[in-house]
């Protein structure tokens, strides 16, 4: 059981990391933008936007995957344009798995960013404005650094959720070894086989290791921020 990773496992691991990292990188800027909008701005239809952003959190992932397929599939109303213009199709490609993971994890990122930005005292931002700081400088120099622990927590959460993504991925991106079979899908595939118990157990152990490492990294980063040495 404790042999080095087999090529199949290695491929699943690489794919999982690639898909989750891509999903997180997609979510991070958008999550910061929407988290800030929801925390600081009032606009028409804010409640609807908020509900829509939370939807993937409460929908069964299979439903999310199906909706993605309707929209981004070869004959989907967006997917058709994608293929026509760029010759790019998401389903059955690792980028499809990344999009599925991103959509499902996005609410976690947005919520985490929103809550941490709401906790930033707006009076500090007002003080920064009176000191001549433009809105962009206030955001980058005051709001974002003060919300950083929450942004970081959201990032780790998003990454972890992406690693575990199964339902939306299998429906939207399929289960193709080497291109969309991430660790959860590989576990599922192993269990489909009569002799797959050991293979599944090894993959389960692997996901536990990754998840614990992600949490440890998060903890370490949060502590580093808390006692960041001040550059003068």
């Amino acid at each position: 059981m404790f042999e080095p990773l087999t090529p199949t496992e290695l491929s699943a691991l690489e794919l999982s990391l690639k898909v989750s990292a891509t999903a997180t990188l997609l979510c991070l800027p958008l999550g910061i933008l929407f988290g800030w909008l929801l925390a600081r701005k009032t606009f028409l239809g804010k409640l609807i936007v908020e509900a829509l952003l939370s939807l993937p959190l409460v929908l069964p992932p299979v439903v999310t995957g199906y909706l993605l397929l309707l929209a981004f599939g070869r004959n989907g109303w967006i997917g058709r344009w994608f293929e026509e213009w760029w010759g790019w199709t998401l389903p059955f490609h690792w980028s499809g798995a990344a999009v599925a993971a991103a959509v499902v994890s996005f609410p976690l990122m947005v919520r985490s960013v929103k809550v941490s930005m709401q906790a930033v005292d707006p009076r500090l931002e007002a003080a920064a404005r009176t000191l001549g700081a433009s809105p962009a400088r206030v955001f980058l120099g005051v709001t974002l650094p003060l919300a950083l622990p929450g942004v970081l927590a959201g990032t780790i959460l998003c990454f972890a959720r992406s690693l575990g993504e199964f339902g939306a991925t299998i429906l939207f991106a399929g289960n193709v070894e080497g291109s969309t079979r991430t660790i959860p899908l590989a576990i599922y595939s192993s269990l489909q086989r009569v002799d797959g118990d050991v293979a599944a157990a090894r993959l389960v152990a692997l996901s536990v290791v990754i998840a614990v490492s992600a949490l440890a990294l998060h903890e370490w980063l949060v502590r580093r921020i808390a006692r960041a040495p001040e550059q003068t």
Partner: protein, 358 residues
């Protein structure tokens, strides 16, 4: 007519609170004075550009800052604001807080970091985090930060609460220097007349969102309705005295009309005229001229009226100038204090405090 520094004519409503203010700042220092809840802070935020007024305009040295359909945001106004709370950035140390608003090319006459740090006496605090500062220290850093942003005007909201007396003197001296030598205009919000008079005698008196009076404080006080104004604002008596004899470290002899007064030693009181303050509850009223007390001053006068204010009885005595004396209801009865009654006001020398005005 000289151009006003600041020209304010605005209306601002927040739920049931209506703020209506219309005044001009003609001197380079002006104070907004009034009890808490009068709208002083709101007015300061409107001037700073942190709130848009519902109606009206704000002009600074002829430039439009707020007008219908025109609003210069706070970060383009270049006003240094010292808020009621220090509002230091918790993720930056004191040094980086101080330099946060420093322009990359400061004006030649702008005070430098070492100058500000030295004048405020905050060298030791530079590497610290805001969480490691006392309330008074944080306030000084906040003032330093505003000064280093190279402001065209300084707006200060109760900047001295929590600052110890020695520090306060030092900072006031620094502010007076800035005003004098760099002609930095300043607007001070305070509910302490003593603090205000250290910087300016130009005041706008606010109460419940309305301007009660504006102009020179001493003229405002001597206006016909001034006694009720003083009562309502709970401020101390201010007396105008002629200084007769003044030697260092010795009690000063002075005259209040034709009555002699003995005043505490004063560093700055030059022969001539001066203002002294005395609190209404630091004065003893007597119907007879009592001898053999430690109170060196015995001012003779007549009762002009008695008013109650928040359960306190204030006897208004004319000693050549209006003087308010706080007494109990029982004293009013036992001394038969009625309008026209002759009385003596007993005041200890050290109950008087000098008010120097630059």
């Amino acid at each position: 007519m000289t151009e006003a520094w600041l020209n304010v004519d605005i209306t601002h409503r927040r739920r049931s609170f209506l703020l209506e203010a219309r005044w001009e700042m003609r001197d380079s220092a002006l104070a907004l004075f009034g009890p808490s809840g009068a709208g002083k802070t709101t007015l300061l935020h409107l001037i700073a550009g942190l709130l848009p007024p519902d109606r009206g305009h704000i002009h600074f040295r002829g430039r439009v800052f707020s007008n219908p359909g025109q609003f210069v945001p706070a970060h383009r106004r270049n006003f240094g604001v010292v808020f009621q709370e220090p509002r230091l950035f918790p993720h930056l140390n004191v040094r980086r807080n101080l330099t946060y608003g420093q322009p990359s090319h400061p004006r030649a006459d702008a005070p430098s970091l070492p100058q500000v740090v030295d004048s405020l006496g905050i060298e030791d605090l530079l590497p610290r985090r805001p969480a490691q500062l006392s309330g008074g220290e944080a306030r000084l850093v906040s003032l330093g930060r505003a000064l280093l942003s190279g402001p065209q005007m300084l707006l200060m909201d109760e900047p001295f609460s929590g600052v110890d007396l020695g520090k306060k003197r030092q900072v006031l001296e620094f502010l007076r220097t800035l005003r004098r030598e760099r002609s930095l205009p300043m607007l001070l919000v305070s509910h302490s007349m003593g603090e205000i008079l250290e910087l300016t005698s130009q005041v706008v008196v606010l109460e419940r969102g309305q301007v009660l009076a504006s102009g020179d404080f001493f003229e405002v006080l001597q206006a016909p309705n001034s006694i009720s104004l003083a009562d309502r604002l709970g401020i101390e008596n201010l007396l105008h005295v002629d200084v007769e004899d003044h030697r260092p470290d010795q009690a000063v002899t002075g005259r209040l009309g034709d009555q002699q007064v003995l005043l505490p030693p004063a560093a700055e009181a030059a022969p001539g005229k001066g203002w002294v303050a005395v609190r209404p509850d630091d004065i003893i009223l007597a119907r007879q001229a009592i001898e053999g007390t430690s109170a060196q001053n015995r001012l003779q006068g007549t009762v002009q009226g008695i008013s109650t204010h928040h359960g306190k009885f204030l006897v208004h005595v004319d000693v050549g100038q209006p003087l308010r004396v706080e007494v109990t209801e029982r004293s009013v009865r036992e001394l038969s204090l009625t309008v026209g009654a002759p009385v003596f006001c007993l005041i200890k020398t050290f109950s008087f405090r000098w008010r120097t005005i630059p």
